[in-house]
C-alpha cells in the first residue's frame, strides 16, 4: 500500500493558481525531488502538505486515510523543515537543538544532543550563540533535528542543501538515504545536484501549472 497519496492537489498563492490536478503516490523507501523553477510553488506545496497552508483542492491520504485539518496523527508522522530552520540566533546550538527535539515530542539527554551536534560538525561550537556562527553552520543546527526524526516516516525538506559545503551535503544525503532505506518517504526541493547513490524520483511541478501559464 502506498504510504502517501496525493489526489488532485491544487494550491493558490494570493490570486494566482500555482498548480492543479497534482496526483501522485509515494511508497516507503522513496526519495522524491520536487523540481521546477523559482515561484512554481515548491515551498507552498510542502507547507500545504504539512498542513500549514490551505489546499485549494484535493485530498492527501496517509496510510490510506485522508488527513484532516489539525490532524494529530499526521503531525506526529511528519517532519517538516521549512526554508527557515527555526534556530534562534541568541541561543547556542545545544539550546536550539534541545528545544527543537522537545517539539518533536522527545526528551533526549544532553549527551544525545551533543552527539548529534558532533555528527553535524558543531562539537566545538555547541556553546556559542548562533549569531557568531556562519550561515551554513546555523543551517546545520536546524538540520541536526533529522538525527532525532527516524521514527517519523514522512520527511518534507524545503531546500535542505542550501548554504552547505560539499562534505556536509554528503553527510546529509547519507542521512536521507538511510531514512528511506528504513521505509520512510523523503520529499525535498533543491536547486543543486545532490549526490544520492541512485538519482531520486523527480516530480516536475511545471507539468501541473495552469494551462495559460504553461504556454508562456
Amino acid at each position: 500500500m502506498a504510504l502517501l497519496e496525493w489526489d488532485r492537489l491544487a494550491c493558490r498563492r494570493g490570486q494566482r493558481l500555482l498548480f492543479h490536478d497534482l496526483s501522485a503516490t509515494f511508497s516507503g523507501g522513496e526519495i522524491i525531488r520536487i523540481a521546477g523553477p523559482n515561484g512554481v510553488g515548491k515551498s507552498t506545496l510542502l507547507s500545504a502538505v504539512a498542513g500549514l497552508a490551505p489546499l485549494e483542492a484535493g485530498t492527501i491520504r496517509f496510510q490510506g486515510r485522508a488527513i484532516t485539518d489539525a490532524d494529530d496523527a499526521w503531525r506526529a508522522a511528519l517532519l517538516y523543515l521549512g526554508h527557515s530552520l527555526a534556530a534562534h540566533e541568541l541561543l547556542t546550538p545545544r539550546e536550539n537543538l534541545r528545544f527543537l527535539v522537545t517539539l518533536l515530542g522527545q526528551r533526549p539527554a544532553l549527551a544525545a544532543i551533543d552527539a548529534a551536534l558532533a555528527e553535524v560538525g558543531l562539537a566545538a561550537q555547541r556553546r556559542l550563540p548562533l549569531r557568531l556562527l556562519s550561515a551554513g553552520q546555523r543551517r546545520r543546527v536546524g538540520l541536526a533535528r533529522l538525527f532525532f526524526a527516524s521514527e517519523r516516516p514522512v520527511w518534507l525538506l524545503d531546500e535542505p542543501l542550501t548554504a552547505l559545503d560539499q562534505s556536509f551535503v554528503g553527510i546529509l544525503t547519507a542521512r536521507i538515504e538511510a531514512h528511506a532505506r528504513k521505509g520512510g518517504v523523503v520529499l525535498l526541493t533543491t536547486h543543486q545536484e545532490a549526490p544520492f547513490a541512485t538519482p531520486p524520483r523527480t516530480l516536475d511541478l511545471t507539468l501541473f501549472r495552469p494551462q495559460q501559464e504553461r504556454a508562456a
Binding site: 507547507s47 500549514l52 511528519l78 527555526a86 541561543l91 539550546e95 522537545t102 517539539l103 515530542g105
Partner: protein, 223 residues
C-alpha cells in the same frame, strides 16, 4: 506535557535575559514618564495625589504596549512558529507558556516598581498597596489582548503603530477599572467590586484571547 510547558517558558526566559536591553527600554520608559509628570504638574500635592492612579496606570499600560510587537515577531520570521504549530502538543499549551513567560518579564516588574514611583506623588499608603494589586490583576488582560494584536500584525509594515491602534481601545476597560480601583481605595470606598471585575476580565481574556491569537498565528504562517 509539563516538561514541554517548562521548556517553552525556559526558552522565553533565556531569550528575554539575552535581549534584556529590549525589556529595559520599556521599563525605563515607565520610570521616566511617571517621573516627568510631577515635574510638569508642579507641587500641588492634592492634585498629584488625585492623578497618581491614572497616570501610573496609563504609563504601565503604554510600557506593556511597547513590549508587544516583539512577542511573536522573531518566532514567525525564523520558522519557530511553524514548528510550534506542527508539534504534537496542544497549541494553547505553548501559547500559554509564551504569554506567561512574557507577562512575568514585562508586566510584573512594572507592578513591583509602581509603588516606588507612586512615592513621587505623595500618595496615601493604601495606594502603595492597591497599585501593585490592581496591576497584578489587570496586566494579564493587557498581555492577552495584546497577544491577539501582536499575532495580527505579523508581516505588516509599521506593524507597531497598527498594533497600538488595534489594542489601545481594547485596553480602555482595563484602565478604567484598574485606575478607579486605586482611586476608590484612596477615598476609602469599597474596592472588592473593582477587583472582582479586573480578575473576571482577566479570566475571560484568558479563555477567549488564545483562540483569536492562534487563528491569527495560523494565518501569519500560511502566507
Amino acid at each position: 506535557m509539563i516538561s514541554f510547558f517548562l521548556a517553552v517558558v525556559t526558552r522565553e526566559w533565556v531569550l528575554a535575559w539575552r535581549s534584556r536591553a529590549d525589556l529595559m527600554v520599556a521599563l525605563t520608559f515607565f520610570v521616566l514618564v511617571a517621573t516627568l509628570f510631577p515635574f510638569g504638574v508642579g507641587s500641588d500635592e492634592a492634585l498629584l495625589r488625585r492623578i497618581a492612579p491614572g497616570i501610573l496606570w496609563v504609563t504601565a499600560l503604554l510600557s506593556v504596549l511597547l513590549t508587544l510587537p516583539r512577542l511573536f515577531e522573531h518566532d514567525w520570521r525564523d520558522g519557530t512558529l511553524e514548528q510550534l504549530l506542527l508539534s504534537a502538543e496542544p497549541a494553547p499549551l505553548w501559547l500559554a507558556a509564551k504569554l506567561l513567560a512574557h507577562w512575568l518579564v514585562s508586566a510584573v516588574p512594572l507592578a513591583l516598581l509602581a509603588p516606588l514611583l507612586a512615592l513621587l506623588y505623595d500618595v496615601e499608603s493604601i495606594v502603595l498597596v492597591m497599585l501593585p494589586v490592581t496591576l497584578f490583576l489587570g496586566t494579564p488582560m493587557l498581555t492577552l489582548i495584546g497577544a491577539v494584536g501582536a499575532a495580527l500584525i505579523l508581516g505588516v509594515r509599521s506593524g507597531a503603530v497598527l498594533l497600538a491602534l488595534l489594542v489601545l481601545p481594547l485596553f480602555v476597560p482595563v484602565l478604567i477599572f484598574g485606575a478607579d480601583a486605586v482611586d476608590s481605595a484612596r477615598q476609602g470606598l469599597p474596592v472588592a467590586g473593582h477587583l472582582a471585575l479586573l480578575a473576571g476580565g482577566t479570566l475571560a481574556a484568558a479563555a477567549l484571547a488564545p483562540w483569536g491569537c492562534l487563528a491569527a498565528l495560523r494565518l501569519a504562517v500560511e502566507s
